[in-house]
């Protein structure tokens, strides 16, 4: 989750998000350079006392300021496409989870071996225990084994939702009648928070997502316990 007044990205919890962070640094540096140059030119144009009414054209500078942006765009596009294809690599998942969006909660189904399914509602503010995070905590978390490739199939039961967890670098729209697939692998154990990212009605801001990555034996204990409860 973000700390208060955080402006930048959260730390990555998956390799794809690490790549996205580096790509963002690279592209933002280019953006800052171009913006600084343009701002300097604007200020220089405004404060200059020089005038030349007879400038008509200049082939040399026109060539430069056509070629240079094209080169910059290529320098941005190459890493971007690399990450795009990286995200789609076949990764042979160990686990498949279905995340279904409802108004206004998520439900998770682990149906690889047994039939495990549960709903995940936000904990209302008045029911929080001291120290819990307002509008982010849920009664049941989506628990996964750490450092195992996981496939998520995202869909919805009623209207559009979107399953998003920023530190994993995932956002996938939940469309009724459609299965959207995404995959990830967590590089460290921890609890990762996200929020519904497609307007879906009155409580769109109140259906968060919590992913908990734990060691495999803890995951096995948890899933046995959840099966007993249901």
């Amino acid at each position: 989750m973000a700390h208060p007044s955080q402006l930048g990205f959260q730390d990555a919890a998956s390799p794809v998000m690490e790549e996205l962070l580096h790509f963002h640094d690279h592209t933002l540096m280019i953006v800052f350079l171009i913006s600084t140059l343009v701002l300097y030119i604007i200020v220089a144009m405004v404060v200059t006392k020089l005038t030349d009414k007879l400038i008509l054209d200049s082939q040399e500078i026109e060539i430069i300021w056509t070629l240079l942006p094209a080169i910059i765009l290529i320098l941005i596009a190459l890493p971007s496409l690399r990450i795009l294809y990286l995200m789609d690599e076949i990764n042979d998942p160990h686990l498949t989870i279905k995340a279904m969006g409802h108004q206004w909660y998520w439900s998770y189904e682990y149906t690889d071996y047994e039939d495990l399914g549960f709903d995940s509602y936000m904990i209302p503010t008045q029911d929080l225990t001291p120290g819990q995070f307002r509008l982010l905590e849920t009664d049941h978390r989506m628990v996964i084994p750490v450092e195992s490739p996981v496939r998520i199939l995202v869909s919805a039961d009623d209207v559009l939702h979107s399953w998003a967890v920023p530190c994993l670098g995932i956002k996938m729209d939940a469309v009724p009648g459609r299965l959207n697939q995404t995959a990830f692998i967590t590089s460290r154990p921890g609890v990762f928070y996200g929020q519904c990212s497609e307007i879906c009605g009155a409580n769109h801001s109140f259906m968060p997502i919590v992913v908990e990555a734990v060691r495999l034996e803890h995951f096995e204990n948890w899933s046995s316990m959840m099966l007993e409860d249901t």
Partner: protein, 178 residues
Amino acid sequence: MLRLTSSRLGSLLAGRPTAALTFSIKGRAASQQSHEVSEPVDMSRPMYYDRVDMPLPDKPYKDVLSEAEQKLKQKEKGPWSQLTNEEKVALYRLKFCQSYSEMRAPSAEWKTVLGGMLFFIGFTGLVVWWQRIYVYPPSPRTLDGDWKAMQLQRMLDMRINPVEGLSAKWDYDKGQWK
């Protein structure tokens, strides 16, 4: 519509060419004693302008010269070393309305703009302050000091953002910020 007396209108129409021009176009307006907010100017004829990037206007500033001024112009046709400084300045002022330093002289407009800006920003601040007292609902209890402290401790215990973010800046051995 502003109404001018005919005497004021007469003083506006100073030069002969302007008089000829405006009587032809605005003869009706003059007789009705009405006045346009921006008078139409015939841009196809030579005109005088004060422009920093165009130093030689189409025509001199003063076309209609008094007797003394006409004598000065005659004197100008001779050697210029015989002109006094005042005469040179007078000749300049016949030709041009504003000098370069007058054209470039800054105005005090920025003070009005800045003052107006600050006034409205201050007024907005007052509105926001009033809203905080009379309009806003009470803050959720999760923004109380002790809750935020417990929340921060929980975030550190959960190792939120341990690479470069929050937990990376906490020294777990010493129990203090790095």
